[in-house]
Amino acid sequence: MTALDDLAVERLQRVLREPDLEGTGYRLVGLLGRGGMGSVYEVEESALQRRLALKILDLPGEDAEQRLRREAEVLATLEHPGVVPIHAVGTLVDGRTFYAMKRVVGTRLDAASVRTLTLAERLRIFLKLAETVAFAHARGIVHRDLKPQNVMLGPFGEVLVLDWGLAKRVGVREGPAGHGVTGQPGDTAPGAALGTPGYMAPEQAAGAPGADDPRADVYSLGALLQFLLRGAGSGEDLPAPLGAIAARAMAQAPGDRYPEVAALAADVERHLAGEAVSVLPEGPWRWTVRQARRHRVALALLLTYAVVRVLLFLVRRT
């Protein structure tokens, strides 16, 4: 087969893969990305002449359809600036389920250059993320797949939590899909996958009862905090209070973790404000160092004043 034939075959395959949006009111613009369960396309809504994103199942199937519809319901429940708003849910002519959501522009956290951001900027990203997750918990929804790939940073400081495909309403029994992990870190597949190694709580990985507890998200947030502070693959040491916060959030036993996301966020806020964190006992030395750091400018000015006074006194004496 010649190179030209290969190109022709590839084009044909691409056309065949493209969804038929007839009767939906949307016009296909292009492919935005593929996930474990389906693909996301950029479309134009004919009635309002606006660009949206359409998540479409790759193959029709009861389990996947249930999961996609559940994700759509979760998104509809969570009206929050940190969650992509959903506009509609429906079925294509070929029987595949889809939902339409806002087309978000930004960079995924795993692809963003977090190492160029200051520590305070990284912590503020974390706090926005934690606020969204806390909001979901308050609505009885546990995300269960928090990881850098599922966080989008917008150009105006927005922090969006994506992919609520594995989210679960607390107290609702899991559907026919089982539990397990995907083979590739960062990959979330349908059915078998209910988490991502490295970001998934131990009880989630073990499929233990109570794996849908909000404290599973607290664990993942601890792992995300570490990611934000260290950047991918770096061996840089965390500041002691932040290390203690991440360690508490990522405790093996759920009971040893922060009881809720708000408590974790409060400790990060305390650290940002130069206050003591709840998980790190503070002796006199650490207290002194923290206060000196917190009031360093005032101390430097007072020291300058004292030095000037001493110098003037010495000059006068000589």
């Binding site: 400018v297 005032a298 000015l301 300058t304 004043y305 000037v308 006074r309 003037l312 006194f313 006068r316």
Partner: protein
């Protein structure tokens, strides 16, 4: 504490401390009480001016510049009244102004933002 109160407290405190340092100059030691009172009043005046400026401007940079100018000018007035000790009065006095400006912005409570005007429904008279 509000910006004005913080500036007054810091100004008075630093002013009195600044005055007390006169104890290290033996020839003015007999006038220490007067110097401390005068210096405290100077600190209070500087604090009042810096506090109102900080409340109005609400920015660290301009407040530091204003504190420096106020501290230096008030110290200059004192030095002119003393007919001497220019360096000993001007330099620390200016630093007291800088410190008061910084402490006011760093530790004083920012004024509450003004409430946004209510939108009037279209067509309402």
């Amino acid at each position: 504490m509000t910006r004005v109160v913080t500036a007054l407290v810091v100004g008075a405190l630093l002013g009195s401390l600044d005055g007390l340092t006169a104890w290290f100059t033996p020839e003015v030691r007999p006038m220490l009480a007067g110097i401390v009172v005068g210096s405290t009043i100077k600190g209070l005046i500087a604090g009042l001016l810096i506090g109102f400026f900080a409340r109005k401007v609400n920015r660290m940079g301009p407040t530091l510049v204003f504190g420096t100018i106020v501290g230096a000018l008030l110290a200059l007035v004192i030095a002119l009244m003393q007919h001497g000790h220019y360096l000993e009065i001007l330099l620390p006095g200016t630093l007291v102004g800088v410190l008061t400006g910084y402490a006011t912005m760093r530790y004083g409570r920012a004024p509450a933002p003004a409430p946004a005007p209510l939108a009037r429904p279209s067509g309402a008279s």
